[in-house]
Symmetry: C2
Subunit: 399 residues, 2 copies
Amino acid sequence: LRFFKWVGDILMEILQNRTMDTSNIRRPTLLVDVKKAKKNIAKMAQLASSLGIPLRPHFKTPQSLQAGEWYREAGVDCITVSSVTMAAYFMEGGWRDIIIAFPVNLRELPLLNDLSSKGKIGLILDSVEVAKQLSAGLLHAVDIWIEVDCGQNRSGVPVLAKEQVLNLAQALDKLPHLRFAGILSHAGHSYQARGKAAILEVHAQALADLQSLKLHLIRKGFPHAKLSYGDTPTCSVAANFEEVDELRPGNFVFYDLMQEQIGACVEEQVAVALACPVVAVYPERGIAILHGGAVHLSKDFLVDPMLGQHFGKIALPAMGGWTTSLPGSYLKSLSQEHGVAVLSKELIPLVHPGDLLMALPVHSCLCADLMGGWMGSDGMWYEMMPRPGLGNGNKKNTG
Amino acid sequence: LRFFKWVGDILMEILQNRTMDTSNIRRPTLLVDVKKAKKNIAKMAQLASSLGIPLRPHFKTPQSLQAGEWYREAGVDCITVSSVTMAAYFMEGGWRDIIIAFPVNLRELPLLNDLSSKGKIGLILDSVEVAKQLSAGLLHAVDIWIEVDCGQNRSGVPVLAKEQVLNLAQALDKLPHLRFAGILSHAGHSYQARGKAAILEVHAQALADLQSLKLHLIRKGFPHAKLSYGDTPTCSVAANFEEVDELRPGNFVFYDLMQEQIGACVEEQVAVALACPVVAVYPERGIAILHGGAVHLSKDFLVDPMLGQHFGKIALPAMGGWTTSLPGSYLKSLSQEHGVAVLSKELIPLVHPGDLLMALPVHSCLCADLMGGWMGSDGMWYEMMPRPGLGNGNKKNTG
């Protein structure tokens, strides 16, 4: 039986490879290894399931209704998004339990009222001032999560300011349409960590502080207060999530070179690469020019101990995907459309204008957001949400 | 008469201001001061006209057919673009003389053949290898410009390698469908300059080398060889363009803080700003959180002697536009959707969640590309070209 499964897997692999045909790629195109992405989802769903809590993945990374199906297959039924527009896109696509993990924007009340009439919307805020204005403008009930800053130092009430959080919870309790749900925190400072030990250190401190805050709320009259937590680095390496009521990582579906440098994944787990046509090769300078620039990859960069500052690593196309990154080959600079690739001595004689090279991105969220869609290794074209900045959407909602 | 013109201007101003209504802005929205943009175009058109040569502006900055009309009004009838897709968009909109100032991508031959059947297409390349493959695949004649590297060190034949350029010109001459037009160069190293003297130094060296190369070609059998040249910094400050046959700057239509730091413009000429809703204010930390992040502004940053590293400066909305940037107020970091703004002591007590702040972008080309459209001070909504990375476009052209 095992043998037949093995033969079946190989046949599936051949069929899948046949459908992802890179020979027709004419310009920068994002490729996604669907098998890897699904494996990344399965692993995270398994973590949540072993903890007995929901996985509420952040969809700002894939931003795609079609990719949403991968998560549904893994049992996911609640999600996180980063804007009201993104919430509208996913609600339109059938998702009915959505946290907008971005501080309430009071200018978007009309769209919020529309959304909260159709499904369960969770919002985050950290001030009584905003809570009051929100409450006054809402027509339907929404869940309210108090945003707590557990160390990132961006937005949220400081995790140690327990009385401030309690006072806010008490104020929320009296305001119409606001259902206090609990505290929500993003340990974004885990992105500064390098290595598993450093990630676990960030996690241990953040979790201890958040647990203590949650228990304070429970003791002081909010027995149902929940804790929403979880970023890709901590959720990729930690095992202890006691008192956490839901996990909210996002980037893990694709991972990227930044996550690899942080220590949240290994390169084999990176499920995206940008296919870039080669347009010029300068063997004497060790350089090739790729069509693949800042409007495709974003200007996010890493500083690598060996390569220095770079905007992505270079791999070769391979059956159904791409090889591991090639030693000494990376994007050293980006213009609007140009990528300047340093290629190793071994590689450069093999590369010619008209070839394709694969760029592993530094930051897959921004790269996907720029590309707006991708070619899956399953042969499907995946559409992403239309850009909110695009005329139609914006015009419609500014009026 | 002067008095009536003055009254007329004021009336126009009032009418224009009435049409740009920022009170309805709900989320990050790009605003363009159309008057400033047209003034920037008029000034550049005046330079070209005084030199007796065409202005062939780079449209990768505005990427909009509607904005193209501003240039037509200033007498422009030939343009530059950075991709084949962008050429297709502008040709569809009636532009018939287009240089694609990006090294020929051999994978895009089908679309190139389509375009060159409809209008005058100019392409750039720097190798015989590419020229031969291009010629073999073309169905119609195109102009070929030899790309020359005058110091940027990205792509092109080094400007001092005169024999290499001559050999390439001779090879082009024998290949079907290729009409050798001349040499094309981008002094992109002017972006490293700070101050007018430094820009002029880059310009003087680049121009001298390019003049010498052009004269070499003229003497050696190519009497009609032209020189296409010009980036925003050099075209904004230099006056001598002897032997230059067309000017190709792009960014000047909007300018931005990078151009201001380079010394190519003053802040008053910057014609774009991103309107950002304020979602949280922390007076004790001197910080406000704006809706306006990396997916709106890009991750391009500047290092300012006073402010340090920043992603944009902060201004206030004003009748029909925005104020000058406020001292000590800037974006110190960006996440995907969040902008973390440092606000001065004077400003912060005046700012509340639900307000709008204006971010002057570091790099207007990338910001506009991300936003996909803008609200003009003339009350019009300007659509930009649909993103080539978006599913439809890409799918259509990969097949």
